[in-house]
């Protein structure tokens, strides 16, 4: 009972855990509890989208047609690639390979930055086209098939577009900040095959953000395209 600060012979093992395995399991479970509440958080926006799209299907299709499918698909590929580099970073940490770990973390940041860069270009297009909700919003009053639509309802589509992609982008920015922090500690050799929980947890978070985009891309960009 003399050891109240940690296990002297087991570096990186917090005193409340019996083993690295128990510590890893606890960290993973905690991260999943966080991700599950994030799912409910985004779920509120997805259910709002569903309710309004049922109501204003034609206006949503018309709004969707003003999004760039090529840029959206490109960004989806970029984000999936960043999930691959993130998964390989976690693998490098599991094996205690410092240089590949840092390399894959840097790669993940670069791909994440490309995604945000493309998003900035898209937002800028929307701004110039007056598709940003607010006093300067303007939209045509005919739908994809020539049917009359209320521009106000298209504004609801773009409100949800900016709320959902904006919240997603915010998660990406936070993710990149955490990745920078990881690189700092990885360079100092803080992660070992026994204790790489921060890398694993960040990986879970990054993949979760990827999953949100996997749903956002078809729901926002690909409505009524045929």
């Amino acid at each position: 009972m003399s050891d109240s600060h940690g296990h002297d012979s087991l570096p990186g093992l917090a005193h409340q855990f019996d083993s690295y395995e128990q510590q890893r399991e606890s960290a993973s479970l905690g991260m999943w509890a966080f991700i599950v509440q994030e799912v409910m958080f985004f779920g509120g926006l997805f259910v709002t989208y569903l309710v309004y799209r049922r109501e204003y299907a034609a206006a949503f299709a018309a709004g969707s047609h003003h999004l760039d499918v090529k840029l959206g698909a490109f960004n989806t590929a970029v984000l999936i690639a960043s999930s691959l580099t993130m998964a390989l970073a976690v693998r490098a940490a599991q094996l205690g390979k410092k240089k590949p770990l840092i390399g894959f973390l840097v790669g993940t940041i670069l791909l994440g930055s490309v995604f945000l860069g493309v998003k900035t270009v898209e937002y800028s297009h929307k701004w110039h086209e007056h598709h940003v909700p607010g006093p300067h919003f303007a939209f045509e009053s005919t739908g994809v098939h020539g049917e009359p639509i209320d521009p106000h309802n298209a504004q609801i589509f773009f409100s949800l577009y900016f709320a959902m992609t904006g919240l997603h982008a915010l998660h990406m920015i936070v993710g990149i900040a955490i990745l920078l922090w990881l690189i700092f500690h990885a360079a100092r050799g803080r992660f070992t095959p026994d204790n790489y929980n921060y890398v694993e947890g960040t990986g879970l978070y990054w993949h979760f953000v990827d999953i949100i985009w996997i749903f956002l891309f078809p729901l926002l960009y690909l409505i009524g395209r045929h």
Binding site: R24, S28, V39, G43, L50, A73, M86, Q94, H226
Partner: protein, 99 residues
């Protein structure tokens, strides 16, 4: 005991499957499948998300407690969707006096 380490090959195969799924969902969106368009789109998205969860997020090798936590999350998400739709989707089923 150390955590399970997946081979690089697994990650690359999943990555390629996710890329193929993305291409497929874009292609399918431009085909006229009627009401099925939404079903196809969401099915592909759910398959892609499942691949990410099982392989990239290691749930395939995680404890039952973690699996249970995720299933509980999905369960509550379904409650959010089904109870909301039970309201909005059924509002015009009955004609209420004065409306």
């Amino acid at each position: 005991m150390s955590a399970h380490v997946s081979p690089v090959r697994t990650y690359v195969v999943i990555f390629l499957a996710l890329m193929a799924g993305t291409a497929l969902t874009v292609w399918a969106a431009f085909q006229d499948l009627g009401a099925l368009n939404n079903v196809v789109m969401l099915t592909i998205a759910v398959v892609k998300a499942t691949l990410v969860v099982m392989y990239f997020m290691h749930v395939r090798h995680s404890s039952r407690l973690t699996t249970m936590t995720i299933l509980a999350g999905i369960f509550f998400l379904l409650i959010l969707f089904s109870l909301t739709l039970a309201d909005y989707a059924t509002r015009d089923w009955l004609t209420v006096a004065g409306h």
